[in-house]
Subunit: 216 residues, 2 copies
DNA sequence: CTGCACGCCGATCTTGACCTCCACGATGTT
DNA sequence: AACATCGTGGAGGTCAAGATCGGCGTGCAG
């Protein structure tokens, strides 16, 4: 009549063994990993601190000895994920000077980001805490920063005005993120590389012919 | 030094006068309007039923005499907003047989939707209740339905396989919705028509040359 | 004039989630 | 080998927000 095995959780994610103590630094990263898994699977609001602690195989007070509160924990993970995509985008743009390759490389970065095992992209593209200004600011900053870097290229290579360059760049980012998310949700009808290449082709055909450009 | 007038709320939205009774049907639509304003301004979680009732100038029990719960109220508004954009998208696609015009018309629909006074698009594109399956299903359905209609055109006019057509269509939808949202947030640097035309141009240049098409 | 029905409001209950207090056991020292 | 110490664990407080009950005022039929 009691629960059969106390090691099984309702949703199938088994907590780590209640192993003994651990160096502080190591414990911290383990807590971050556990928190990421829970936030990704359940969203911010549905995720309880109890869930995160249980997932890590510790009790709640230790969680609060490492992070002052739920929001701080979330922001730490969110910041890391934001940096991942922004840095990846920057590196892709810097990896070549051929704009067609730039588009392809950047698209690949978005697809890799979305496909990454941990699912951290959900914190950025599917956050359920957008009413919190700190979160909203970071989420928006991802699109704005990525778009801004792309807009620089567009502006210098085409001479379009600032606002138009920014809007075009935002469009490309939107195309990348939305298509990547739905490619992932669609299950593997198309391989990651094929999908990225297909959308990169669409983006490049759209952007390549812009007004002018005396560079070739 | 005390608050000047008790009619002013912190966020500047003034509640309707505590006017007397009202026919039931009329009261219902008024409650829906008030709820939309609050949900748009604050998001689902931050919006309290007290806020909605106060905004409507009634007390909470009245709200519960019209809607069984917070989620039902939200879903009613969400459904209406989903239908608005899906129907608009369908009509835009049916409004002409020239694909260039189709792209322009559809883009215009997205920009109008986002620019509409009530801001109902936020329930769809910026929902903070995606952990709720009922909400998730409706939000995803907007992109999927719009993309599906566009994919039909792409597939029949180019002969591309289903998966590729769908992914291209999703990309165009993503471009439209993300760029429209950031155009709105950017404040009026570009007029609505100019922005829609600019992005429509980008989309059309991208999609027009696809593999084949014996129609001209 | 009087009784009735209807819709509305103030005040309250309860749930659930974030956040801390008292006992236990493992480790390093003498 | 015995003791002090520090980290760990379970149980509990607080509070916000969704959801609900007895009284009140108003308009109408008789």
């Amino acid at each position: 009549m009691t629960a059969g095995s106390p090691d099984t959780t309702p949703d199938g994610a088994l907590p780590r063994p209640r192993g003994g103590r651990m160096p502080r630094r190591e414990r911290r990263v383990q807590l971050l990993e556990s928190a990421l898994e829970v936030f990704v699977a359940q969203g911010y609001h549905a995720a309880a601190m109890d869930d995160i602690a249980e997932r890590a195989g510790v009790s709640k007070p230790v969680l609060y000895q490492h992070f002052p509160g739920k929001l701080d924990l979330y922001l730490a993970l969110l910041d890391a994920s934001c940096d991942t995509i922004i840095d990846g985008c920057r590196e892709a743009l810097a990896s070549t000077t051929d704009n067609k390759d730039r588009v392809a490389a950047t698209m690949k970065v978005f697809y890799s980001y979305v496909a990454s095992e941990e699912g951290a992209f959900r914190l950025v593209f599917e956050s359920d805490l957008t009413s919190e200004p700190d979160v909203r600011e970071r989420v928006d900053r991802v699109t704005i920063e990525c778009a801004s870097m792309i807009a620089d290229v567009i502006r210098t290579d085409t001479g379009l005005p600032d606002e138009a360059s920014e809007l075009l760049a935002v469009s490309l980012v939107g195309m990348a993120q939305v298509s990547a998310r739905f490619w992932l949700a669609g299950g593997g009808g198309i391989t990651q590389d094929d999908a990225a290449a297909l959308i990169a082709g669409l983006a490049w055909r759209g952007i390549r012919g812009y007004p002018m450009t005396d560079d070739h």
